[in-house]
Symmetry: none
DNA sequence: TATGAATGAGTCTTCATTCAT
DNA sequence: CATGAATGAAGACTCATTCAT
């Protein structure tokens, strides 16, 4: 019984997603994937080179989205004190994250909690680092534009903040947060965060 | 005899710590441990039931310390607005964490990054949850004592904060942060955090 | 159509030659051949029954050449003492081998070093044996013609000599011997060999 | 049923030798070795690190013998024209080879015909090269001692000669040569070879 | 206590080849 | 003629753990 190629790829990917979700990359077994997808073990290798490639394929959408979002986040549109002061900057960041999380909930789970042993196991650290660099540069440029504000925020603090973002995503993904709870959280975070940043960077209202 | 016995236990534990540190729990091999400790593979099983038990034994000190710290954190001594306002509360928390981290740096590495596959792999989530509960209760009691402050902080926000603490520990442990950088970070965090909490809880100076 | 067909055969054969050369018959993979030739894996089986047949096809030219040369070598033209004495016999043999080697260098490499696992892996032994038989018969006939010479050369010695020839080819093929070095070698071999054979067969100058 | 360690090692080695002999290193299967030796597949790995180690263990005796013989062959005792002229030098070499071959017949088979795919597959070339170097040096020193003889023998010719020695061993090992045939061969070779070398190096009787 | 031996299921991956379309 | 799909056996090697001594 011949089937469409995409059909099979899809079947394999679905079974793999289940398997990875249940056991994590390292413990996931090609045997199980084969058994659960009803596809011959060796036949899987006609579609994917190895376990890792399946995993990466599964997460390619999310990773592309993350990459895009990060570049866009670098945009100079945000380089203004009003932005900072008017909560717009944070709201932007937040919406970005929330949007990503809602669309890629499952994939985030895989990426953040199930990727150990795969090529992507370092991705969490990588985005943390990239986000940190971006933020440091952002602050530097703000300082250049508004010389009165305090740009002396230590890299490690910023790193910590970036790491926090990831862990917020992790929490959002892990627990099933209702829409209301999420909105509530966002409001709270913005109060908290803006107050914090203003204090730290010496920004007057 | 008794001494010898403890000697061997120690030897096993040392070799195991190395192995777990290098390869993580899941990839750690009892054979390697045996080889590196110079103790017969099967003899290890006279001292420990299995790989997991070794891992738990290794981290028992840290886990006990965490437990103690958490209970102590609940103490009614901290239940005062002055505490909150005078930065002392945060300083206390911070010192606690920093103290723990400095004392148990290696163990934290094991617990946070190398425990996948072991019984303790959920420990990170567990302490996050426990810390969250503790914090919620703390806020509730503060609210009871000082009715004027805003105690409506959503559980998820608090959860998020707790999770952040863990990720700060993770960052501290992962990167070798110098003493100066650490002090700098603490100062920054306190400015940031106190401003944030005060805003959120409606606490006037 | 017919042209196309041959085109594909050729493409397959070229890719196969590369593959066999790189990995040897046993390790060569039909998948690689398909990939490198740009021809569908299963389509290859429309042109060749199996891997072995491709290999044999590849070497058919060389094998035919070897067969021809061997028969020709048996020719009665060489059956004269002058031939032996005037170095012509050896020169003839040598030229034959050198000619073959120069024309079929690549194919010899395949046959001698890359054929393990294929039907042709015994070919080296087979030609050794055939060459041995031919030589024995040659000597016998010489003895018949010139009764004064010593024809009592043991079969194993002759076998050894034949085997040596093959290993000379192997050496020639393996190391890239310059033309000069080759000529030098031939001269040396002829001095050495004629002196040896004359001694052994009691031939006076 | 506990058995002596050496017993098991031996059992494994025996079964492995059979397997290697039958199928060659590359095609030999650990599964077969396990089955034929009656020892659990995984248990084999308690005695040997991998297939290659078994193979090397099997041939360690032979390789040691070859190494020793080659060093001893380098001895300055042979540096005299009488030696060359009186056939003693060749007789020495021959006896050395014959002795080795008789003692290590089976092992030579493994090394020369069954080692493809193993660490030792290059050993044939290596000893050829080593023997070549030794011979070149030998000739150079003879030339230094007896300036009248011709030392201009091309390296490739010598290489060829070395290679021939190996192929003689190969032939001896492959076919079951009777003692008489062997003696006969040796006599013939010595007539042939001494005549050849004398001619080539311009040595008068 | 300590050890060497043993186990048996498990890992991912590769292979040449065939079949239905 | 061409192709994508499928197969099933095979490959070496690792694992935590148990058992008998």
């Amino acid at each position: 019984m011949q089937v469409q190629k995409d059909d099979i790829r899809g079947t394999i990917l679905n079974a793999s997603r289940q398997e990875f979700m249940n056991k994590g990359f390292k413990n996931a077994s090609m045997r199980s994937i084969a058994a659960n997808s009803g596809i011959g073990l060796s036949n899987i290798y006609n579609y994917f080179r190895n376990k890792d490639e399946i995993f990466r394929e599964l997460l390619s959408g999310l990773i592309y989205a993350i990459d895009s979002t990060m570049e866009q986040h670098n945009s100079p549109d945000y380089l203004s004190i009003e932005v900072l002061n008017s909560d717009e900057y944070m709201r932007g960041q937040i919406d970005m994250f929330v949007g990503l999380v809602e669309k890629y909930k499952e994939d985030f789970k895989l990426l953040l909690f199930k990727s150990a042993g795969s090529t992507l196991e370092c991705f969490r650290n990588e985005i943390t680092d990239r986000h940190t660099k971006t933020s440091i540069e952002y602050i530097a440029q703000m300082k250049k534009k508004y010389s009165e504000l305090n740009g002396n925020v230590s890299p490690f603090f910023i790193h910590t903040m970036s790491s926090w973002w990831i862990s917020v995503i992790a929490e959002l993904v892990m627990h099933d947060i209702s829409h209301d709870a999420l909105q509530c959280f966002i409001r709270e975070y913005m109060e908290f965060g803006t107050a914090g940043w203003k204090k730290l960077m010496d920004i007057k209202d």
